[in-house]
Symmetry: C2
Subunit: 155 residues, 2 copies
DNA sequence: TATTGTTATACTCTATAACTATA
DNA sequence: TATAGTTATAGAGTATAACAATA
């Protein structure tokens, strides 16, 4: 037998109780659905969501240290090491010596990384547009704005 | 040294490029922020987001089979086995024999599971309300609605 | 044959803690 | 002392594939 049918956010006949009233569960549902479409779309390059984020951020901000990348992405320093290792194994990123600080490296995409990022970004954009089809352009803007404010919430 | 400063969704001076225009990255940012507050809030019970979802769903729909739980949660059958194992180890869930089908089990919370779920749900609700403070009640409703439609997107 | 639960296996992502080399 | 990167280790969470028992 083979398992993974497409995700059904609300299975008919199932009582989701409190889950239906939580913002967090709504975010989780959307995340599951997005992930399900993202992975096969980017499989040709071996790119996952965190790898894509890291590539874009390094591409637009060359010279970042691993510590800075970790902070920007909200992960631990050790996480940025394995993340960069994985992208390096794909031939997309490199650690360059930092003049003036022999402890640190400046991150940069390789030529291949910059080149493939064009196609990868197009695939991500196509994926995002496919998912966003469910909403009008105005709704997409509203949704992004509300999510951004939620992600800046101070408890 | 110790790593995990609070997540900053948009670090000043950093160019996020295409990420700022993607719905998927907005969802990801919100998810990181929510997770960061969820985990310590529920640590006293050893409850994580998927464990909470499973407990609520089983509580409201007793007698579900593991296969059904997997489908509802959008995970593989083998995932529902380890998920139920983990919740069982906390003393919160049980597999009951199903009359009429000796292959299957009907899932149900234990008495302790139902009792603790009350406090757990209160903690989750407090967490969710804390995060939702960033939005007006109307905005929360709009956000939940848009996310739900996104999670039902048909590519 | 098909389904149910399970196990085996593997990979990603994440964390904490300790180490090293530099600053 | 503090910082940058790294390693060791661990635990979730997820997946695929194969298996035994049962339908």
């Amino acid at each position: 037998m083979h398992d993974p049918d497409p995700f059904v956010a609300k299975v008919p006949g199932i009582d989701y109780g409190i889950l239906d009233s939580l913002l967090g569960y709504a975010v989780r549902r959307a995340q599951i659905r997005l992930y399900e479409d993202f992975i096969p779309s980017l499989a040709p390059w071996g790119i996952t969501p965190p790898r894509f984020s890291a590539m874009v951020i390094v591409s637009r901000n060359p010279g970042l240290k691993l510590t800075q990348l970790a902070r920007i992405m909200g992960i631990a320093r050790s996480g940025s090491v394995s993340l960069v290792d994985a992208i390096e194994a794909l031939g997309y990123i490199q650690r360059l010596p930092m003049p003036g600080d022999r402890r640190a490296f400046g991150l940069a995409l390789t030529a291949k990384g910059e080149a493939d990022l064009v196609a990868i970004s197009a695939a991500v954009q196509a994926h995002d547009a496919r998912m966003a089809q469910a909403l009008t352009p105005e709704e997409r803007t509203v949704l992004r704005g509300l999510l951004t404010r939620l992600s800046e919430a101070q408890p």
